[in-house]
Amino acid sequence: MSAWLYGQFDSSLNGINHLQGFQFIEQLPWIRLDLGSLGKLEIDYFLGVDGISLPLLILSAFVMLMAIGASWNITKNAKGYFALLMLLNTAVMGIFCALDFFLFYIFYEVMLLPLYFLIGIWGGANREYAAIKFFIYTLFGSVFMLLVIVGLYFSVTNPSTGAHTFNMLHMMNPENYVDGSFFAYLNNYYEVQGIPARMLGFIVLFVAFAIKVPVVPFHTWLPDAHVEAPTPVSIILAGVLLKVGGYGIIRVCYSIFPDAAAQANWWLALLGIISILYGALNALAQKDLKRMIAYSSVSHMGFVLLGVAALTAEGISGAMFQMLSHGFLSAALFFLVGVIYDRVHDRYIYNFRGLATHMPAYTGFVAVAFFASLGLPGFSAFIGEAFVIIGTFNAESVGTGIPRWMAIAGSVGILLSCLLFSVDLTAYVFRTDTLQRW
């Protein structure tokens, strides 16, 4: 049964990919309700792919494939498992394609449910806690996002029909905002506790996505979820789902609230720096391999935030590149951890001393993945991180308000993660003194 599902899954995946790889595809009609005085409810089934979403789509297709590959050993209720995995895949692909905010939100929430069950049913010992923690964190961000979506809906009209709309493309165009509405560009007097409404909307959306990224004050669900999740789910979580946050920040926060973003970017960059350093330092202290990779993910995703906050062309493309590279790398790392975990049922770094003598080929792969994630030239993470740093350095001269020391702090972050991976590699894997019997 699982093999059948696998076949089904694989082909549908490729199909979607090819189809959308060629061109932009838009589909239109969905819900149009006449709500009397509330006006017409315009919700479209509106999908499209552009330069930001296409790489992420390919990434998610690829990572999903890897995750399926990693799930060969799932024996417990395989039918349900693969069904949930497919649902998750649908939701993720939907998020990357959706251009209607309502649709986006629906996919965003639908994504949570299969993940909750995947972690909760097939996870490790402490899985219930991890699953509910993950769910609550994300839901907390997203319910407030819903309020902002409703607010935006009332502020934006569709220029062709004159009705309010959830269309994200219309939300990005300042001309479509109703004068004097809650999120209007001009004549906006709305303030909540002294914070202008547009800034508030930006902050709420940012927090919702920052939880997903995760940015440091909101990151605590990630290590738990990673440790408890089964390997394939860890792969998906690190490889694709963290990108949803980054994608959301670029696509939603920055495109719909560019004015607020320009004002807030100093703080965003600061959060990015904190994530980079704090994540790297935390990763250094971890004994559990999965936990370590989870914290290094926090650090790497900090670069994404830093790059986006720089508001320079280099910074944003660096952030995009970093997302992709991290998607592949973290998936690879978790895959490798999964391989070893399946064999020895242990994730403590200390116990892997002398691994190189037992599994030389495996160690080779580990070394490649480690070197790649510490940003060595010649690997993808280097390009992503270098572009982010360049973009941040340039930011001061361009005048987007990011001081140079932030770029320097980012570089220190690279150094730390370099330290992290090389220490692990040399101190444990290549050591030969103590042999582990398995």
Binding site: D34, L35, Y116, F117, I132, I136, L147, F154
Partner: protein, 395 residues
């Protein structure tokens, strides 16, 4: 309009009497939703109340169930008396019992403020008892727990719907007129909604008995329905009606499942659902869908209903920038996060925890309820994806 009768079908004892009582309750409810006259409303509320007392007491077998019925009767009759007193005061002030009538509003404007406030608070106490919003909610968990499940399903939905329609009508009438209480009504309902949402959802977190949990959940939903009534000012009645309809469907479905499980495994404790997801995959999947809908997550009808309510409240907020609306919105959003915790206990126990193998008897007469509840679960999903079906019905 209110199709709850189906749930009781499988109850065996003296069915004929139960049906006639249900019909009486139905009659009272229909009157309640149609009237604008205080006296008619009172009579209708009493008709519904008395039939509910009978329904709760009628099937009572254990001491606990009799206690629940007794509690219900005592609370109910006190609040009815209070309401009647308030009513007599109102009549004294206005000389007219039709709350949409010009003379009635006129009389309210001219009446002495303190006495009028007392009278109106009395009225709201009566309505609040039936809706079980805080602080008139104390009876409901005991009664919900003690009453047989089909009756609980009936209590949690049908009388509430009737009184809500009355309240919505009253609210619309009074806030659009300009006597001093009209602003107060808005604040009163908003505050009641906020407190009810918070109290219901927070207390539900601690429950281990699923019927008790659902009682608090329905208190929480009452708060949300009050919010929908406030939102009703801005929009067509469709929004309120949609939410009410969805709420009814969700609750009936959930109680249907509780009933099926109660009869098959003989327990209403959440603990006993451990590992049952394996035995009843379909049942618990549909149960989870209903739970998701009660939380208000897409793609279910509960989400669409919630979205509509948020939308209409936001519209009001944008219109006059009243901070109450914003607090309502934030509380509404926050409590849906809180509610996730306890609704997810159901799939948590059923799917995530392992239970010992249990004897499960497949009782033949649960089939109807079972199938019906599954259909309700599917309906909730369908209405979430295509809300237009229901909305065009209310037009």
């Amino acid at each position: 309009m209110y199709n709850s009768i189906s749930n009781i079908k499988s109850w065996t004892k003296k069915l004929g009497d139960a049906y006639s009582i249900l019909l009486t309750a139905g009659l009272g409810l229909n009157i309640l939703t149609m009237t604008t006259n205080w006296l008619m409303a009172f009579i209708a509320i009493e008709t519904v109340s008395i039939s509910s007392y009978v329904l709760v007491g009628f099937f009572s077998e254990s001491k606990k169930q009799s206690e629940a019925a007794m509690k219900y009767v005592l609370f109910g009759s006190v609040s009815a008396a209070v309401m009647l007193y308030g009513l007599s005061l109102l009549y004294g002030f206005t000389g007219n019992l039709d709350f949409t009538a010009f003379e009635h509003i006129q009389g309210l404007i001219e009446a002495p403020k303190i006495l009028l406030t007392v009278a109106l608070l009395f009225m709201f106490a009566g309505i609040g008892f039936k809706l079980s919003f805080v602080p008139f909610h104390v009876w409901s968990p005991d009664v919900y727990e003690g009453a047989p499940t089909p009756i609980t399903a009936f209590l949690s939905t049908v009388p509430k719907v009737g009184v809500l329609v009355l309240l919505a009508r009253l609210f619309e009438e009074w806030t659009s007129s300009s006597f001093y209480f009209s602003e107060l009504v808005l604040i009163l309902i908003s505050v009641a909604a906020i407190v009810t949402m918070l109290a219901g959802n927070l207390i539900a977190l601690r429950q281990t008995n699923i019927k008790r949990m659902m009682a608090y959940s329905s208190i929480g939903h009452t708060g949300f329905l009050l919010m929908a009534i406030v939102g009703n000012l801005a929009s067509e009645p469709q929004v309120l009606l949609y939410y009410i309809a969805v709420y009814t469907l969700m609750n009936l479905g959930v109680f249907g499942f509780i009933d099926v499980l109660e009869r098959r495994i003989g327990s209403v404790q959440l603990e006993d659902y451990k590992g049952l997801g394996k035995n009843y995959p379909l049942l618990f999947s549909a149960f989870t869908v209903l739970g998701i809908s009660l939380v208000g997550l897409p793609p279910t009808a509960g989400f669409v209903g919630k979205l509509f309510v948020f939308t209409s409240i936001f519209d009001l907020f944008q219109f006059n920038n009243n901070p109450y609306y914003l607090i309502l919105l934030i509380t509404g959003a926050l409590t849906s996060v809180i509610s996730l915790f306890y609704y997810f206990k159901i799939p948590l126990f059923a799917f995530l925890r392992k239970g010992e193998e249990k004897e499960t008897s497949s009782v033949a007469d649960t089939k109807v309820v079972y199938v019906l509840s599954i259909i309700l679960g599917i309906a909730i999903l369908m209405l979430g994806i295509f809300p237009g079906i229901l909305l065009s019905l209310f037009k």
